[in-house]
């Protein structure tokens, strides 16, 4: 195709938006709402995942060692734990450090601790696992190391968190897919209505020898431009709402989140570029393709 022909089709696509103002506005509004809903669902999903991830990261496995081990053996055990797959960090706590830590956490019990005298706790390692969902095989491997007495891990809590994350991921993915399907169906119907208004024009084009691509390209351009605008406006609105929500969460010092050690929502600035790019391009592409495909029925002349 010549450049002049390509430019003409682009211009026609842009012109069509003005010529079909009502239908263009309807497509724009439908896309705007759909893309915003999908965007918000996605933001909720990544934040819930981040919260669960934060909580998971704070979980440590405590590996208690048998009494009477030599320092050299303890060091070897530390190396063996580090060598186990899925272990991110290993820190040694001597029995005295453990006892001091206990004392600091239980105030007004000096008499009791004086009575106990020497630390009754064993030496231990605090182990952070890389992937909490694979904790069971990791614990089994650590338990098998010679010199390890017991391993203490919040298995049930981790299980609940993992299940929660999985369920939430599935639910939100289904919701996003459903919203996308609704968006495609509604945009397709609006586009079909818009195309049917120009059925006569399409028939004339076909009868004088226009290729299907010549007829489709302006519709694709029209749909893409509407999608681009809708995606951009939706990204801006979503960003502003999300930023206000972030500030509200930080200012309100939500007790559950702070108790879990979570600072707040993922900062808007850190996801703004990727989110905007995906929203705008996704919306433009879906709208463009759906609009172009909607012409299919009318091209059979």
């Amino acid at each position: 195709m010549r450049i002049s022909g390509f430019t003409y089709l682009m211009k026609q696509g842009a012109k069509n938006i003005g010529s079909n103002r009502v239908m263009s506005l309807a497509s724009f509004c439908i896309l705007l709402v759909s893309v915003m809903l999908i965007g918000f669902t996605y933001l909720v999903l990544i934040n819930v995942n981040a919260v669960i991830g934060d909580v998971e990261d704070k979980n440590e496995v405590i590996v208690f060692l048998k009494d009477g081990l030599l320092q050299t053996r303890i060091e070897v055990i530390g190396q063996e734990i580090s060598a186990v797959g899925n272990v991110a960090k290993v820190t040694f706590y001597s029995k005295d450090e453990g006892f001091e830590s206990m004392k600091s956490r239980i105030p007004n019990a000096d008499e009791l601790f004086d009575y106990i005298g020497e630390s009754p706790l064993p030496d231990s390692f605090r182990v952070t696992v890389a992937d909490i969902t694979k904790i069971s095989p990791t614990l089994m491997a650590i338990t098998r190391i010679d010199g390890v007495d017991t391993v203490s891990a919040p298995n049930e809590f981790i299980g609940v968190l993992t299940d929660l994350r999985n369920v939430f991921t599935i639910v939100s993915s289904v919701v996003m897919a459903a919203l996308l399907a609704v968006c495609i169906i509604v945009v397709s119907n609006t586009a079909r209505a818009s195309v049917s208004i120009r059925q006569r024009e399409i028939t004339i084009m076909k009868l004088v020898g226009a290729k299907n691509s010549f007829i489709r390209v302006p519709f694709f351009v029209e749909g893409t431009l509407i999608g681009l605008f809708a995606g951009a406006v939706s990204a801006v609105i979503t960003y502003l709402v999300y930023e206000s929500l972030s500030e509200m969460v930080i200012n309100s010092q939500m007790t559950l989140l702070t108790a879990l050690g979570v600072g707040g929502l993922i900062p808007a600035a850190s996801i703004a570029f990727k989110f905007t790019a995906v929203t705008v391009l996704g919306s433009a592409l879906v709208s463009g393709i759906v609009t172009a495909v909607s012409t299919r029925k009318y091209l059979k002349v």
Partner: protein, 222 residues
């Protein structure tokens, strides 16, 4: 240029629109196709522009086997044909120039071609001074002239005029037929479909008559 070999068309409702019709229109010929409503004239046109395929027989236009043409290649056939419609079929939102330039645009001709060719064909049909008018600002005759200019603009080998005088007064109808004859004298094959026998008698020439889907006669009327 146009050849039908034992062509029959049966629609899905069981109606036989054409029954074993054979005819040939040679390059450079002017032929009238006449017949009453339901004679099969529209079906004949639909066959030639591949809106429908024959139920049996062969249809050739410019050497192309129309019946075997795939749907995505129909544009190749239609770009060889200049089509004049009874109801003009101009695009209301485009001015005269753009309506005519529409065909070269569809067929990926250059801007230079359009700038030279469109005013030229509009001059041929006597509408050069109406180049910027919108279709609604033109009379029926003028609109049909624009449609004729559009059919001519890419210099097609064949012009099919489907009842081009159907919506026009007798004087304007005569002018349109004269224009078609002038086009034919330049070497373009013209097939004009009409139910108005008086024009055929007035102008004479090769006349193919259809009746109830069959070829009634094919002769030169003087």
């Amino acid at each position: 240029m146009v050849e039908l070999r034992n062509v029959s068309v049966r629609y899905s409702n069981g109606v036989d629109a054409l029954k074993n019709v054979s005819l040939t229109i040679n390059q450079g010929e002017f032929a009238f196709v006449v017949g009453e409503s339901g004679a099969g004239k529209s079906t004949l046109i639909k066959l030639l522009i591949r809106e429908i395929a024959p139920s049996s027989g062969k249809v050739f236009v410019g050497g192309m086997d129309v019946g075997r043409l795939k749907r995505d290649k129909i544009w190749k056939l239609r770009q060889k044909i200049g089509y004049v419609f009874q109801d003009f079929k101009l695009i209301d939102s485009l001015n005269v120039f753009d309506n005519v330039a529409f065909v070269p645009r569809c067929t990926d001709k250059s801007n230079k071609y359009m700038r030279n060719r469109v005013p030229y064909v509009l001059q041929l049909v006597g509408l050069k001074d109406k180049i910027k008018c919108m279709p609604r600002e033109l009379s029926g005759g003028e609109q049909q002239r624009v449609a004729l200019a559009r059919a001519l603009v890419c210099d097609p080998a064949l012009i099919i005029a489907d009842e081009p005088t159907g919506n026009l007064d007798p004087k304007t109808s005569m002018e349109i037929i004269e224009l078609l004859q002038a086009v034919n004298e330049c070497g373009t094959t013209v097939m004009m479909v009409t139910h108005e026998h008086e024009f055929v008698r007035a102008f004479g020439g090769r006349t193919i008559s259809l009746s109830d889907g069959e070829k009634l006669f094919d002769e030169i009327i003087k």
